[in-house]
Protein backbone atom coordinates (compact mmCIF):
# COMPACT_ATOMS: atom_id res chain seq x y z
CA UNK A 1 0.00 0.00 0.00
CA UNK A 2 1.39 3.47 -0.86
CA UNK A 3 2.46 5.99 1.79
CA UNK A 4 -0.45 7.98 3.20
CA UNK A 5 -0.92 11.26 1.33
CA UNK A 6 -1.07 12.87 4.73
CA UNK A 7 2.65 12.26 5.10
CA UNK A 8 3.82 13.10 1.59
CA UNK A 9 2.53 14.33 -1.73
CA UNK A 10 1.72 11.54 -4.12
CA UNK A 11 3.13 13.30 -7.20
CA UNK A 12 5.72 15.95 -8.04
CA UNK A 13 3.00 18.23 -9.19
CA UNK A 14 -0.11 18.41 -7.02
CA UNK A 15 -2.43 20.86 -5.35
CA UNK A 16 -3.78 20.26 -1.86
CA UNK A 17 -6.86 21.79 -0.29
CA UNK A 18 -8.15 21.37 3.23
CA UNK A 19 -11.91 21.78 3.64
CA UNK A 20 -12.98 22.25 7.25
CA UNK A 21 -16.73 22.62 6.92
CA UNK A 22 -19.42 21.83 4.38
CA UNK A 23 -21.51 24.85 5.33
CA UNK A 24 -19.34 27.40 7.07
CA UNK A 25 -21.14 29.29 9.82
CA UNK A 26 -24.05 26.82 9.98
CA UNK A 27 -22.50 24.65 12.73
CA UNK A 28 -18.99 25.24 14.07
CA UNK A 29 -15.81 23.73 12.61
CA UNK A 30 -14.35 20.89 14.67
CA UNK A 31 -10.88 22.30 15.16
CA UNK A 32 -9.00 19.10 16.06
CA UNK A 33 -9.18 17.54 12.59
CA UNK A 34 -8.70 20.98 10.99
CA UNK A 35 -5.37 21.36 12.79
CA UNK A 36 -4.32 17.93 11.51
CA UNK A 37 -5.26 19.09 8.00
CA UNK A 38 -3.21 22.25 8.40
CA UNK A 39 -0.15 20.14 9.19
CA UNK A 40 -0.56 18.25 5.88
CA UNK A 41 0.92 21.07 3.74
CA UNK A 42 -2.28 22.42 2.20
CA UNK A 43 -1.90 24.87 -0.68
CA UNK A 44 -5.29 26.44 0.09
CA UNK A 45 -8.04 26.34 2.70
CA UNK A 46 -11.50 26.44 1.13
CA UNK A 47 -15.10 26.13 2.29
CA UNK A 48 -18.58 26.60 0.99
CA UNK A 49 -20.85 28.67 3.21
CA UNK A 50 -24.22 28.55 1.54
CA UNK A 51 -27.04 26.55 0.13
CA UNK A 52 -30.59 26.92 -1.07
CA UNK A 53 -31.40 24.19 1.47
CA UNK A 54 -32.12 26.79 4.13
CA UNK A 55 -35.33 27.68 2.32
CA UNK A 56 -36.47 30.93 0.73
CA UNK A 57 -36.62 33.10 3.88
CA UNK A 58 -32.92 34.07 4.19
CA UNK A 59 -32.62 35.07 0.52
CA UNK A 60 -35.92 36.94 0.52
CA UNK A 61 -35.35 38.73 3.82
CA UNK A 62 -31.60 39.15 3.11
CA UNK A 63 -30.51 37.58 6.37
CA UNK A 64 -28.31 34.64 7.38
CA UNK A 65 -29.82 31.54 8.91
CA UNK A 66 -27.24 31.36 11.70
CA UNK A 67 -25.87 33.82 14.28
CA UNK A 68 -23.04 36.16 13.31
CA UNK A 69 -21.03 34.76 16.22
CA UNK A 70 -20.81 31.36 14.51
CA UNK A 71 -19.75 32.93 11.22
CA UNK A 72 -17.03 34.92 12.99
CA UNK A 73 -15.79 31.87 14.81
CA UNK A 74 -15.42 29.75 11.66
CA UNK A 75 -13.85 32.60 9.70
CA UNK A 76 -11.42 33.21 12.56
CA UNK A 77 -10.38 29.54 12.57
CA UNK A 78 -9.80 29.56 8.80
CA UNK A 79 -8.22 33.01 8.56
CA UNK A 80 -5.66 32.50 11.32
CA UNK A 81 -4.58 29.18 9.78
CA UNK A 82 -4.42 30.65 6.30
CA UNK A 83 -2.28 33.61 7.38
CA UNK A 84 -0.05 31.44 9.57
CA UNK A 85 0.59 29.00 6.71
CA UNK A 86 0.75 31.74 4.09
CA UNK A 87 -1.80 30.03 1.81
CA UNK A 88 -4.94 31.52 0.26
CA UNK A 89 -8.34 31.01 1.80
CA UNK A 90 -11.56 30.88 -0.22
CA UNK A 91 -15.13 31.00 1.08
CA UNK A 92 -18.04 30.86 -1.36
CA UNK A 93 -21.80 31.43 -1.16
CA UNK A 94 -21.12 33.36 2.00
CA UNK A 95 -23.65 33.82 4.78
CA UNK A 96 -25.99 31.05 3.46
CA UNK A 97 -27.36 32.99 0.49
CA UNK A 98 -24.38 34.74 -1.11
CA UNK A 99 -26.27 38.04 -1.46
CA UNK A 100 -24.38 41.33 -1.68
CA UNK A 101 -25.07 42.18 1.96
CA UNK A 102 -23.66 38.81 3.05
CA UNK A 103 -20.50 39.40 0.99
CA UNK A 104 -20.06 42.81 2.61
CA UNK A 105 -20.70 41.28 6.03
CA UNK A 106 -18.02 38.59 5.52
CA UNK A 107 -15.47 41.05 4.11
CA UNK A 108 -16.10 43.21 7.18
CA UNK A 109 -15.67 40.25 9.54
CA UNK A 110 -12.35 39.34 7.87
CA UNK A 111 -11.14 42.93 8.22
CA UNK A 112 -12.25 43.05 11.88
CA UNK A 113 -10.49 39.76 12.61
CA UNK A 114 -7.32 41.02 10.92
CA UNK A 115 -7.35 44.09 13.19
CA UNK A 116 -8.17 42.06 16.29
CA UNK A 117 -5.23 39.71 15.69
CA UNK A 118 -2.95 42.44 14.25
CA UNK A 119 -2.34 40.33 11.14
CA UNK A 120 0.15 41.65 8.58
CA UNK A 121 -1.44 43.36 5.64
CA UNK A 122 -3.11 41.09 3.09
CA UNK A 123 -5.43 41.42 0.10
CA UNK A 124 -9.07 40.43 0.07
CA UNK A 125 -10.89 39.80 -3.20
CA UNK A 126 -14.65 39.54 -3.33
CA UNK A 127 -17.45 39.37 -5.85
CA UNK A 128 -21.19 39.91 -5.92
CA UNK A 129 -23.85 37.60 -7.33
CA UNK A 130 -27.14 39.50 -7.10
CA UNK A 131 -29.03 40.07 -10.34
CA UNK A 132 -31.21 43.15 -10.66
CA UNK A 133 -34.83 42.80 -11.73
CA UNK A 134 -34.27 45.40 -14.51
CA UNK A 135 -31.89 43.06 -16.31
CA UNK A 136 -34.35 40.18 -16.10
CA UNK A 137 -37.23 42.38 -17.21
CA UNK A 138 -35.26 43.50 -20.28
CA UNK A 139 -34.44 39.92 -21.19
CA UNK A 140 -38.08 38.85 -20.94
CA UNK A 141 -39.19 41.84 -23.01
CA UNK A 142 -36.47 41.19 -25.61
CA UNK A 143 -37.77 37.62 -26.01
CA UNK A 144 -34.65 36.06 -24.50
CA UNK A 145 -36.40 33.70 -22.10
CA UNK A 146 -35.30 33.15 -18.53
CA UNK A 147 -35.85 29.40 -18.73
CA UNK A 148 -37.31 27.39 -15.87
CA UNK A 149 -35.59 24.39 -14.29
CA UNK A 150 -37.21 21.23 -12.89
CA UNK A 151 -40.43 21.67 -14.86
CA UNK A 152 -40.94 25.36 -14.07
CA UNK A 153 -42.29 27.63 -16.80
CA UNK A 154 -40.10 30.41 -18.20
CA UNK A 155 -40.07 33.47 -15.95
CA UNK A 156 -42.96 35.89 -16.55
CA UNK A 157 -43.24 39.49 -15.47
CA UNK A 158 -45.83 38.75 -12.76
CA UNK A 159 -43.49 36.27 -11.07
CA UNK A 160 -40.60 38.69 -11.43
CA UNK A 161 -42.69 41.44 -9.82
CA UNK A 162 -43.47 39.11 -6.92
CA UNK A 163 -39.74 38.48 -6.37
CA UNK A 164 -37.79 40.19 -3.65
CA UNK A 165 -34.22 39.21 -4.52
CA UNK A 166 -32.33 37.11 -7.08
CA UNK A 167 -28.82 35.64 -7.01
CA UNK A 168 -27.01 34.00 -9.88
CA UNK A 169 -24.82 30.98 -9.21
CA UNK A 170 -21.21 31.65 -10.24
CA UNK A 171 -18.82 29.15 -11.79
CA UNK A 172 -15.04 29.17 -11.38
CA UNK A 173 -14.57 32.41 -13.30
CA UNK A 174 -14.67 35.15 -10.64
CA UNK A 175 -12.48 32.99 -8.38
CA UNK A 176 -9.89 32.50 -11.13
CA UNK A 177 -9.91 36.23 -11.90
CA UNK A 178 -9.32 37.14 -8.25
CA UNK A 179 -6.59 34.51 -7.84
CA UNK A 180 -4.92 36.00 -10.94
CA UNK A 181 -4.92 39.33 -9.12
CA UNK A 182 -2.94 37.75 -6.31
CA UNK A 183 -5.44 37.98 -3.47
CA UNK A 184 -4.94 36.11 -0.21
CA UNK A 185 -8.58 35.76 0.78
CA UNK A 186 -11.64 35.41 -1.45
CA UNK A 187 -15.14 36.10 -0.19
CA UNK A 188 -17.47 34.83 -2.88
CA UNK A 189 -21.12 35.53 -3.61
CA UNK A 190 -23.45 32.68 -4.56
CA UNK A 191 -21.47 30.01 -6.38
CA UNK A 192 -21.60 26.37 -7.37
CA UNK A 193 -20.12 24.46 -4.47
CA UNK A 194 -17.60 22.68 -6.66
CA UNK A 195 -16.34 25.91 -8.29
CA UNK A 196 -14.78 27.11 -5.04
CA UNK A 197 -12.32 24.19 -5.15
CA UNK A 198 -12.14 23.66 -8.91
CA UNK A 199 -11.07 27.26 -9.59
CA UNK A 200 -7.59 27.12 -8.02
CA UNK A 201 -7.01 23.64 -9.52
CA UNK A 202 -7.98 24.69 -13.04
CA UNK A 203 -5.97 27.89 -12.73
CA UNK A 204 -2.95 25.76 -11.75
CA UNK A 205 -3.35 23.73 -14.95
CA UNK A 206 -4.99 20.54 -13.69
CA UNK A 207 -7.51 18.83 -16.00
CA UNK A 208 -11.00 20.27 -15.77
CA UNK A 209 -12.77 16.95 -15.26
CA UNK A 210 -10.59 16.09 -12.29
CA UNK A 211 -10.78 19.65 -10.96
CA UNK A 212 -14.58 19.82 -10.92
CA UNK A 213 -14.75 16.38 -9.36
CA UNK A 214 -12.20 17.54 -6.78
CA UNK A 215 -14.60 20.35 -5.90
CA UNK A 216 -17.60 18.06 -5.85
CA UNK A 217 -16.00 15.62 -3.44
CA UNK A 218 -14.51 18.22 -1.07
CA UNK A 219 -17.37 20.67 -0.76
CA UNK A 220 -19.20 18.90 2.06
CA UNK A 221 -16.00 18.23 4.08
CA UNK A 222 -16.38 15.03 6.14
CA UNK A 223 -19.71 14.06 4.55
CA UNK A 224 -17.58 12.02 2.11
CA UNK A 225 -16.09 10.03 5.00
CA UNK A 226 -17.35 7.29 7.28
CA UNK A 227 -18.45 6.74 9.98
CA UNK A 228 -20.82 9.69 9.80
CA UNK A 229 -19.65 12.81 11.60
CA UNK A 230 -20.13 16.32 10.26
CA UNK A 231 -17.91 19.42 10.42
CA UNK A 232 -14.65 17.45 10.41
CA UNK A 233 -11.90 18.34 7.93
CA UNK A 234 -10.89 16.44 4.84
CA UNK A 235 -7.74 16.86 2.72
CA UNK A 236 -7.93 16.65 -1.05
CA UNK A 237 -5.04 16.32 -3.46
CA UNK A 238 -5.29 16.70 -7.22
CA UNK A 239 -2.59 15.58 -9.66
CA UNK A 240 -2.57 15.44 -13.46
CA UNK A 241 -3.97 11.90 -13.21
CA UNK A 242 -6.27 11.62 -10.23
CA UNK A 243 -8.00 13.06 -7.19
CA UNK A 244 -7.34 11.72 -3.70
CA UNK A 245 -9.30 12.54 -0.60
CA UNK A 246 -8.38 11.70 2.99
CA UNK A 247 -10.33 12.03 6.23
CA UNK A 248 -8.40 14.12 8.77
CA UNK A 249 -10.22 12.90 11.88
CA UNK A 250 -8.34 9.75 12.95
CA UNK A 251 -11.64 7.92 13.51
CA UNK A 252 -12.89 8.60 9.98
CA UNK A 253 -11.96 7.09 6.62
CA UNK A 254 -12.66 8.04 3.02
CA UNK A 255 -13.52 4.71 1.41
CA UNK A 256 -14.47 4.06 -2.22
CA UNK A 257 -18.06 3.51 -1.07
CA UNK A 258 -18.20 6.62 1.13
CA UNK A 259 -16.69 8.82 -1.59
CA UNK A 260 -18.89 7.38 -4.34
CA UNK A 261 -21.86 7.67 -1.98
CA UNK A 262 -21.13 11.32 -1.42
CA UNK A 263 -20.62 12.01 -5.12
CA UNK A 264 -24.35 11.41 -5.50
CA UNK A 265 -25.38 13.40 -2.43
CA UNK A 266 -28.10 16.07 -2.69
CA UNK A 267 -28.34 15.82 -6.46
CA UNK A 268 -31.10 14.37 -8.58
CA UNK A 269 -28.76 12.10 -10.52
CA UNK A 270 -25.52 10.50 -9.34
CA UNK A 271 -23.71 10.92 -12.65
CA UNK A 272 -24.01 14.58 -13.59
CA UNK A 273 -23.22 17.86 -11.87
CA UNK A 274 -24.15 21.07 -13.70
CA UNK A 275 -22.53 24.49 -13.26
CA UNK A 276 -21.93 27.64 -15.25
CA UNK A 277 -19.73 26.53 -18.14
CA UNK A 278 -20.75 22.90 -18.49
CA UNK A 279 -21.23 19.76 -16.50
CA UNK A 280 -19.29 17.00 -14.87
CA UNK A 281 -19.91 13.44 -16.06
CA UNK A 282 -19.11 10.95 -13.29
CA UNK A 283 -20.59 7.89 -15.01
CA UNK A 284 -17.16 6.42 -15.81
CA UNK A 285 -15.52 7.33 -12.49
CA UNK A 286 -13.33 4.71 -10.82
CA UNK A 287 -13.05 4.73 -7.04
CA UNK A 288 -10.25 2.77 -5.37
CA UNK A 289 -8.69 2.58 -1.93
CA UNK A 290 -5.28 4.33 -1.88
CA UNK A 291 -4.44 3.90 1.76
CA UNK A 292 -6.48 3.13 4.85
CA UNK A 293 -8.16 6.51 4.97
CA UNK A 294 -7.73 7.75 1.39
CA UNK A 295 -9.69 7.06 -1.76
CA UNK A 296 -8.37 7.70 -5.26
CA UNK A 297 -10.71 8.70 -8.07
CA UNK A 298 -10.00 8.72 -11.78
CA UNK A 299 -11.89 9.29 -15.05
CA UNK A 300 -14.41 12.03 -14.26
CA UNK A 301 -15.13 13.95 -17.46
CA UNK A 302 -15.83 17.65 -18.06
CA UNK A 303 -18.35 18.48 -20.80
CA UNK A 304 -18.35 22.15 -21.82
CA UNK A 305 -21.75 23.74 -22.42
CA UNK A 306 -22.47 24.94 -25.98
CA UNK A 307 -24.41 27.92 -24.58
CA UNK A 308 -23.58 29.56 -21.25
CA UNK A 309 -26.55 29.73 -18.88
CA UNK A 310 -26.29 30.87 -15.26
CA UNK A 311 -28.63 29.38 -12.68
CA UNK A 312 -30.78 31.92 -10.84
CA UNK A 313 -32.34 31.59 -7.40
CA UNK A 314 -35.09 34.01 -6.44
CA UNK A 315 -37.31 34.45 -3.42
CA UNK A 316 -40.55 36.40 -3.11
CA UNK A 317 -42.45 37.50 -0.05
CA UNK A 318 -45.92 36.11 0.54
CA UNK A 319 -46.66 37.98 3.74
CA UNK A 320 -46.19 38.39 7.46
CA UNK A 321 -46.60 35.24 9.53
CA UNK A 322 -47.82 34.16 12.97
CA UNK A 323 -47.80 30.63 14.37
CA UNK A 324 -49.99 28.86 16.94
CA UNK A 325 -49.57 25.37 18.45
CA UNK A 326 -52.21 23.10 19.95
CA UNK A 327 -52.23 19.53 21.21
CA UNK A 328 -55.00 16.94 21.03
CA UNK A 329 -55.39 13.88 23.28
CA UNK A 330 -59.08 12.93 22.86
CA UNK A 331 -59.07 9.89 20.53
CA UNK A 332 -62.37 10.91 18.94
CA UNK A 333 -61.07 14.40 18.19
CA UNK A 334 -57.84 12.95 16.79
CA UNK A 335 -59.87 10.72 14.49
CA UNK A 336 -61.86 13.71 13.33
CA UNK A 337 -59.11 16.32 13.29
CA UNK A 338 -59.88 17.27 9.69
CA UNK A 339 -63.38 18.27 10.82
CA UNK A 340 -61.85 20.43 13.56
CA UNK A 341 -59.56 22.08 11.02
CA UNK A 342 -62.43 22.64 8.60
CA UNK A 343 -64.39 24.36 11.35
CA UNK A 344 -61.48 26.70 12.08
CA UNK A 345 -61.00 27.45 8.37
CA UNK A 346 -64.67 28.25 8.13
CA UNK A 347 -64.42 30.71 11.01
CA UNK A 348 -61.49 32.47 9.30
CA UNK A 349 -63.51 32.64 6.10
CA UNK A 350 -66.45 34.19 7.98
CA UNK A 351 -64.14 36.94 9.17
CA UNK A 352 -61.95 37.52 6.08
CA UNK A 353 -63.60 35.58 3.24
CA UNK A 354 -61.98 32.61 1.52
CA UNK A 355 -58.14 32.78 1.52
CA UNK A 356 -57.66 33.73 -2.14
CA UNK A 357 -60.26 36.51 -1.99
CA UNK A 358 -59.25 37.57 1.51
CA UNK A 359 -55.55 37.77 0.64
CA UNK A 360 -54.36 35.44 3.38
CA UNK A 361 -53.12 31.86 3.85
CA UNK A 362 -53.99 29.55 6.72
CA UNK A 363 -51.99 26.30 7.07
CA UNK A 364 -52.52 23.43 9.50
CA UNK A 365 -49.69 20.93 9.95
CA UNK A 366 -50.72 17.83 11.90
CA UNK A 367 -47.78 16.34 13.82
CA UNK A 368 -48.41 12.76 14.85
CA UNK A 369 -50.27 12.06 11.63
CA UNK A 370 -48.78 13.41 8.39
CA UNK A 371 -46.96 16.68 9.08
CA UNK A 372 -43.69 15.71 7.43
CA UNK A 373 -44.97 13.90 4.32
CA UNK A 374 -48.47 15.31 3.90
CA UNK A 375 -50.63 13.27 1.56
CA UNK A 376 -47.57 11.12 0.72
CA UNK A 377 -47.64 9.63 4.24
CA UNK A 378 -48.61 5.94 4.03
CA UNK A 379 -49.48 5.85 7.77
CA UNK A 380 -51.75 8.90 7.76
CA UNK A 381 -54.83 6.83 8.59
CA UNK A 382 -53.15 5.72 11.84
CA UNK A 383 -52.37 8.85 13.86
CA UNK A 384 -50.68 8.66 17.25
CA UNK A 385 -52.48 8.68 20.61
CA UNK A 386 -51.59 12.36 20.88
CA UNK A 387 -51.07 14.86 18.08
CA UNK A 388 -50.04 18.48 17.68
CA UNK A 389 -51.36 20.91 15.12
CA UNK A 390 -49.17 23.82 14.10
CA UNK A 391 -51.18 26.69 12.66
CA UNK A 392 -49.64 29.29 10.35
CA UNK A 393 -51.43 32.48 9.43
CA UNK A 394 -49.91 34.49 6.56
CA UNK A 395 -51.28 37.89 5.56
CA UNK A 396 -50.20 41.26 4.15
CA UNK A 397 -49.89 42.92 7.57
CA UNK A 398 -48.62 41.57 10.87
CA UNK A 399 -51.88 42.48 12.58
CA UNK A 400 -53.93 40.52 10.09
CA UNK A 401 -51.51 37.56 10.15
CA UNK A 402 -51.82 37.50 13.94
CA UNK A 403 -55.59 37.51 13.71
CA UNK A 404 -55.67 34.79 11.04
CA UNK A 405 -53.36 32.57 13.11
CA UNK A 406 -55.39 33.34 16.22
CA UNK A 407 -58.68 32.38 14.58
CA UNK A 408 -57.12 29.17 13.22
CA UNK A 409 -55.77 28.26 16.66
CA UNK A 410 -58.57 29.46 18.97
CA UNK A 411 -61.38 28.12 16.84
CA UNK A 412 -60.05 24.58 17.02
CA UNK A 413 -60.81 24.94 20.74
CA UNK A 414 -64.44 25.68 19.87
CA UNK A 415 -64.87 23.19 17.05
CA UNK A 416 -68.26 21.49 17.05
CA UNK A 417 -67.86 17.75 16.66
CA UNK A 418 -71.16 15.89 17.08
CA UNK A 419 -70.06 13.14 19.47
CA UNK A 420 -67.21 14.71 21.40
CA UNK A 421 -67.26 13.93 25.13
CA UNK A 422 -65.22 16.89 26.27
CA UNK A 423 -67.18 20.09 25.94
CA UNK A 424 -64.82 22.42 27.79
CA UNK A 425 -62.28 22.73 24.97
CA UNK A 426 -61.49 20.69 21.86
CA UNK A 427 -57.72 21.16 21.96
CA UNK A 428 -54.95 21.85 24.49
CA UNK A 429 -53.09 25.15 24.10
CA UNK A 430 -49.33 25.19 24.43
CA UNK A 431 -49.76 28.95 24.67
CA UNK A 432 -52.99 30.84 24.58
CA UNK A 433 -51.25 33.32 22.30
CA UNK A 434 -49.86 33.02 18.78
CA UNK A 435 -46.20 33.71 18.08
CA UNK A 436 -44.64 36.07 15.56
CA UNK A 437 -42.55 34.10 13.04
CA UNK A 438 -40.31 34.97 10.11
CA UNK A 439 -42.30 36.39 7.17
CA UNK A 440 -43.36 33.74 4.67
CA UNK A 441 -41.43 33.59 1.39
CA UNK A 442 -41.44 31.20 -1.54
CA UNK A 443 -38.92 30.24 -4.19
CA UNK A 444 -40.04 32.24 -7.20
CA UNK A 445 -36.99 31.55 -9.36
CA UNK A 446 -35.30 28.26 -10.09
CA UNK A 447 -34.32 29.32 -13.58
CA UNK A 448 -31.39 29.95 -15.92
CA UNK A 449 -30.23 33.07 -17.74
CA UNK A 450 -28.14 33.13 -20.91
CA UNK A 451 -24.82 34.94 -20.53
CA UNK A 452 -22.18 35.81 -23.12
CA UNK A 453 -19.38 36.09 -20.60
CA UNK A 454 -19.27 33.89 -17.48
CA UNK A 455 -18.07 36.93 -15.51
CA UNK A 456 -20.81 39.34 -16.57
CA UNK A 457 -23.09 38.76 -13.57
CA UNK A 458 -20.27 38.64 -11.02
CA UNK A 459 -18.38 41.93 -10.58
CA UNK A 460 -15.13 41.50 -8.64
CA UNK A 461 -13.56 43.94 -6.17
CA UNK A 462 -10.42 44.24 -4.04
CA UNK A 463 -9.99 45.40 -0.45
CA UNK A 464 -7.16 45.55 2.04
CA UNK A 465 -7.05 44.01 5.48
CA UNK A 466 -4.51 43.79 8.28
CA UNK A 467 -2.06 46.31 9.66
Amino acid sequence: MPVSIQQARSANRSLRIVCPNGHLGFAPIKTGSFEIGCRAEPDLICADSGSCDVGPVPLGADISSSPRQWQEQDLETMLLASRRLGVPMIVGSVGDTGTNSRVDLFVGIVQDLARKHRLSRFRVGYFYSEVGSDLLRRRIEMGDPVEGLDGRAALDLATLDATERVVAVAGIHPYVKLLDQGVDVIIGGRSSDCAIFAAPAIRAGFPEGLAYFYGKVLECASFCAEPYGGKESVLGEITMDDVKVTAMLPEQRCTPASVAGHAMYERANPFYEYFLGGHLDMSECRYEAWDERTTRVTRPRYVPAPVLRAKLEGSGKIGERYVGIVGVRDPYTIGNIDGVIDWARGQAAERFGPPAAGGYELHFTVYGRDAVLGEREPMRSRPGHEIAVVVQGVAPTAAMAEEVAMIGTRQMFYARLPQVKGTAGGVAFLLDEVMPASPAYRWTLNHTLRVDDPLELFPTHLAAAGV
Partner: protein, 106 residues
Protein backbone atom coordinates in the same frame (compact mmCIF):
# COMPACT_ATOMS: atom_id res chain seq x y z
CA UNK B 1 -38.41 -11.49 4.75
CA UNK B 2 -36.38 -8.68 6.25
CA UNK B 3 -36.93 -4.97 6.79
CA UNK B 4 -35.05 -2.62 4.49
CA UNK B 5 -33.99 -0.73 7.62
CA UNK B 6 -32.18 -3.87 8.83
CA UNK B 7 -30.36 -4.46 5.55
CA UNK B 8 -29.35 -0.99 4.34
CA UNK B 9 -26.38 0.90 5.78
CA UNK B 10 -27.85 4.34 5.02
CA UNK B 11 -31.35 5.43 4.07
CA UNK B 12 -31.64 9.19 3.58
CA UNK B 13 -33.52 11.94 1.81
CA UNK B 14 -32.40 15.45 1.00
CA UNK B 15 -33.32 18.39 -1.20
CA UNK B 16 -31.94 18.29 -4.73
CA UNK B 17 -32.50 21.94 -5.47
CA UNK B 18 -35.69 23.67 -4.34
CA UNK B 19 -38.23 21.63 -6.31
CA UNK B 20 -37.03 18.04 -5.82
CA UNK B 21 -36.18 15.59 -3.07
CA UNK B 22 -33.67 12.83 -3.67
CA UNK B 23 -33.51 9.52 -1.81
CA UNK B 24 -30.37 7.42 -1.34
CA UNK B 25 -30.39 3.84 -0.07
CA UNK B 26 -26.84 2.55 0.46
CA UNK B 27 -25.64 -0.91 1.41
CA UNK B 28 -22.47 -2.21 3.03
CA UNK B 29 -22.48 -5.53 1.19
CA UNK B 30 -22.83 -6.08 -2.54
CA UNK B 31 -25.11 -9.09 -1.96
CA UNK B 32 -27.59 -6.97 0.01
CA UNK B 33 -27.50 -4.24 -2.64
CA UNK B 34 -28.17 -6.72 -5.43
CA UNK B 35 -30.88 -8.47 -3.42
CA UNK B 36 -32.83 -5.25 -2.90
CA UNK B 37 -32.13 -3.94 -6.39
CA UNK B 38 -33.32 -7.16 -8.02
CA UNK B 39 -36.33 -7.63 -5.72
CA UNK B 40 -38.10 -4.61 -7.19
CA UNK B 41 -39.22 -3.29 -3.78
CA UNK B 42 -37.60 0.06 -4.66
CA UNK B 43 -38.51 0.10 -8.35
CA UNK B 44 -40.01 3.24 -9.81
CA UNK B 45 -43.52 1.80 -9.58
CA UNK B 46 -42.98 0.52 -6.05
CA UNK B 47 -41.77 3.95 -4.91
CA UNK B 48 -44.81 5.51 -6.54
CA UNK B 49 -47.05 3.17 -4.55
CA UNK B 50 -45.25 3.76 -1.24
CA UNK B 51 -45.66 7.53 -1.47
CA UNK B 52 -49.01 7.37 -3.29
CA UNK B 53 -47.69 9.48 -6.16
CA UNK B 54 -47.81 9.22 -9.93
CA UNK B 55 -44.53 7.51 -10.97
CA UNK B 56 -44.15 10.33 -13.51
CA UNK B 57 -43.23 12.56 -10.55
CA UNK B 58 -40.14 10.38 -10.04
CA UNK B 59 -37.67 12.18 -12.29
CA UNK B 60 -34.63 9.95 -11.78
CA UNK B 61 -34.18 6.35 -10.70
CA UNK B 62 -30.71 4.80 -10.76
CA UNK B 63 -28.95 1.75 -9.36
CA UNK B 64 -25.45 3.11 -8.72
CA UNK B 65 -22.99 0.23 -8.44
CA UNK B 66 -19.87 2.10 -7.23
CA UNK B 67 -21.67 3.21 -4.06
CA UNK B 68 -23.82 0.07 -3.74
CA UNK B 69 -26.72 2.48 -3.81
CA UNK B 70 -30.23 2.84 -5.15
CA UNK B 71 -31.10 6.46 -5.78
CA UNK B 72 -34.32 8.10 -6.87
CA UNK B 73 -35.59 11.64 -7.02
CA UNK B 74 -39.12 12.99 -6.95
CA UNK B 75 -40.80 16.34 -7.39
CA UNK B 76 -41.71 18.04 -4.10
CA UNK B 77 -45.32 18.65 -3.00
CA UNK B 78 -44.33 22.31 -2.60
CA UNK B 79 -41.06 24.17 -3.18
CA UNK B 80 -38.91 23.86 -0.06
CA UNK B 81 -39.84 26.24 2.73
CA UNK B 82 -43.10 27.47 1.23
CA UNK B 83 -45.75 27.88 3.94
CA UNK B 84 -47.30 24.44 4.34
CA UNK B 85 -44.04 22.60 3.62
CA UNK B 86 -42.89 21.11 6.92
CA UNK B 87 -39.55 19.64 5.77
CA UNK B 88 -37.38 22.52 4.56
CA UNK B 89 -34.32 20.32 3.93
CA UNK B 90 -36.33 17.30 2.74
CA UNK B 91 -34.40 15.36 5.33
CA UNK B 92 -37.18 13.18 6.83
CA UNK B 93 -39.01 12.04 3.71
CA UNK B 94 -37.29 8.65 3.79
CA UNK B 95 -39.24 7.47 6.85
CA UNK B 96 -41.64 5.11 5.03
CA UNK B 97 -38.71 3.25 3.43
CA UNK B 98 -37.43 1.84 6.72
CA UNK B 99 -40.21 -0.71 7.16
CA UNK B 100 -40.36 -2.00 3.60
CA UNK B 101 -40.31 -5.79 3.50
CA UNK B 102 -37.55 -7.26 1.36
CA UNK B 103 -38.23 -10.83 0.19
CA UNK B 104 -35.58 -13.51 0.69
CA UNK B 105 -33.55 -14.37 -2.36
CA UNK B 106 -35.21 -17.03 -4.54
Amino acid sequence: MARLGDIAKTIRSKNAGVDKITFDVLFAARADYERVRDSGVLSRDAVGRIFAIDPALITDHVAFDPALAIKFTMMRRLPSGSPGDADVFGSQQYGPLIDIDVPDQP
